[in-house]
């Protein structure tokens, strides 16, 4: 029963974090630098492998090239799909983190997507085909570690056509590094598309004096997707 064996260390981590670790406060409105979403490779956020390239399997490269050529219309973001994971963390749009004992809540401005990272249960719901995946989290010291599975293949990893299959598995790490900064790290694994797991790391910045506003797609043949800009709060 490989699935069961796999969940044991997660159970242990949940137990340890419940007993020993006080949660760090990640609350606030966060946003990545604007250029990351355009291309993970060109933004130099891939820290592993050391060459900074996405380790595509040879048979998976053709689809990436095709996506890149058609990105203006083929990018699921342009069709108002939920952004997926890890992309939701670095689309050019803010997200707000809320927390309680039960979960950490990632509330994205982008197409009003959200994720609930449950802290109180380790077992994933398998095979759901979620755009945003099924998230289970635990604390390792001051780092929130989220294990995300059960994806659909309907989302991309960036606007350059980098993609994944429904076998995507992401491990995210959120570590607050200062009053206004957080490091976001994601290890991306997908045996159908990549020859090995790979990792991105990038800074998120706290956005002060703004609020998350509604980002609702407009319909019709002339609809054009655009990200709702940062919305300043009334002074």
């Amino acid at each position: 029963m490989p699935a069961r064996r796999k969940s044991r260390p997660i159970f242990f981590a949940v137990f340890v974090s419940a007993v020993c670790v006080r949660a760090a406060d990640l609350r606030g409105i966060w946003m990545a630098d604007k250029n990351v979403d355009a291309s993970l490779e060109r933004a130099h956020v891939i820290v592993d492998p050391p060459d900074g390239k996405i380790p595509y399997k040879s048979e998976a490269i053709a689809k990436q090239k095709q996506n890149f050529e058609n990105h203006a219309t083929a990018d699921p973001e342009t069709r108002c799909f939920q952004p997926g994971v890890p992309r939701a963390a670095y689309v050019p749009s803010p997200f707000q983190i809320f927390q309680n004992d039960r979960a950490v809540y990632m509330v994205y401005q982008d197409v009003h997507a959200y994720r609930i990272v449950y802290l109180d249960r380790a077992e994933h719901n398998e095979g759901l085909g979620y755009a945003m995946g099924d998230s289970r989290g635990h604390w390792e010291g001051d780092t929130l570690v989220a294990d995300v599975t059960s994806f659909s293949d309907a989302t991309w990893l960036d606007a350059a056509g980098d993609y994944h299959s429904d076998e995507l598995h992401v491990i995210e790490r959120y570590t607050r590094t200062g009053p206004d900064t957080m490091t976001y790290e994601a290890t991306i694994e997908d045996p159908k598309v990549f020859s090995r797991p790979w990792t991105i790391r990038l800074p998120l910045r706290l956005q002060r004096g703004v609020q998350i506003v509604e980002d609702e797609c407009e319909e019709g043949p002339n609809a054009r997707r655009h990200h709702v800009p940062l919305f300043r709060r009334a002074p």
């Binding site: 809540y105 009003h112 998350i212 609702e216 319909e219």
Partner: protein, 249 residues
């Protein structure tokens, strides 16, 4: 003497009947959990309806005016009747978020997240969400949206939310009842038992209604461990065309 004993026991009874809600560290009621509307008829028609085909029947959820009817102005009533004939135009059928108070009525769960700064409502339906700041800040000027802008405060143990800045494109239910851009809602969330929140919405819209009206529904706590699941609407192949149209050559 006999009267005062009666009075004392009455007061004691009334006090024991008063529900003491679970509380946050700041003393305000803790509304957190997963909830769902228990008056499902409101999703179909806030004025109530007879059961037919695959829709449930039930009484109007409108408590004011007492007749349970929406106090439409004549032109608005005509529009609502027209909508009823063309229910394929319901914006939620085109993957749009529901507006307020309609977001509270579908038979899908709602998670409430709360701290001293904000109350967040996460709706399973259309993965909609509302962030309700509690800091006393005003509505932003020139802001229009499907769900409006929400600002909350506590009145005793009741969470009161003022919602304005609507785009006027939402319906109130599947029957085609309407509001427009002048809609203004005051909501009241009161936990009346461990597993019940009394939800009340007073809707004022002077270009649609002759006077403000009030609806009331019970939100029931869902069993422990209930998770909101992902609601994909736009991602569905058939709806996609409403949004982007066919790819242009």
């Amino acid at each position: 003497m006999r009267f005062s004993i009666f009075l004392i026991s009455f007061v004691a009874l009334a006090q024991s009947a008063k529900f003491e809600p679970p509380r946050q560290a700041d003393g305000h009621p803790d509304l957190q959990g997963v909830w769902r509307n228990a008056s499902i008829v409101a999703a179909f028609n806030v004025e109530g309806q007879e059961a037919f085909y695959n829709e449930p029947g039930g009484k109007s959820v409108i408590v004011d005016p007492p007749d349970g009817k929406l106090p439409y102005l004549p032109a608005a009533l005509k529009q609502a009747n027209e909508n009823h004939v063309h229910r394929e135009l319901d914006p939620t059928g085109h993957c749009h978020t529901h507006g307020v108070p309609r977001l509270l009525v579908p038979p899908f769960p709602i998670e409430i997240v709360e701290d001293s700064n904000d109350v967040v409502l996460l709706f399973e339906t259309e993965h909609s969400l509302r962030i309700i700041p509690l800091d006393g800040s005003p509505h932003p000027k020139l802001y229009r949206s499907w769900n409006g802008d929400s600002r909350g405060h506590w009145e005793g143990d009741t969470l009161v939310v003022d919602v304005a800045g609507f785009n006027g494109r939402t319906w109130l239910d599947q029957a085609g009842n309407i509001v427009d851009r002048n809609e203004h809602v005051v909501e009241r969330f009161t936990m009346t038992a461990r597993d019940t929140i009394a939800y009340e919405a007073r809707v004022d819209d002077p270009t649609i209604y002759a006077k403000p009206w009030t609806m009331r529904i019970p939100l029931r706590r869902q069993p422990a461990g209930t998770e909101l699941i992902e609601y994909d609407c736009i991602e569905g192949e058939r709806s996609e065309i409403h949004y982007a149209g066919p790819p242009k050559k």
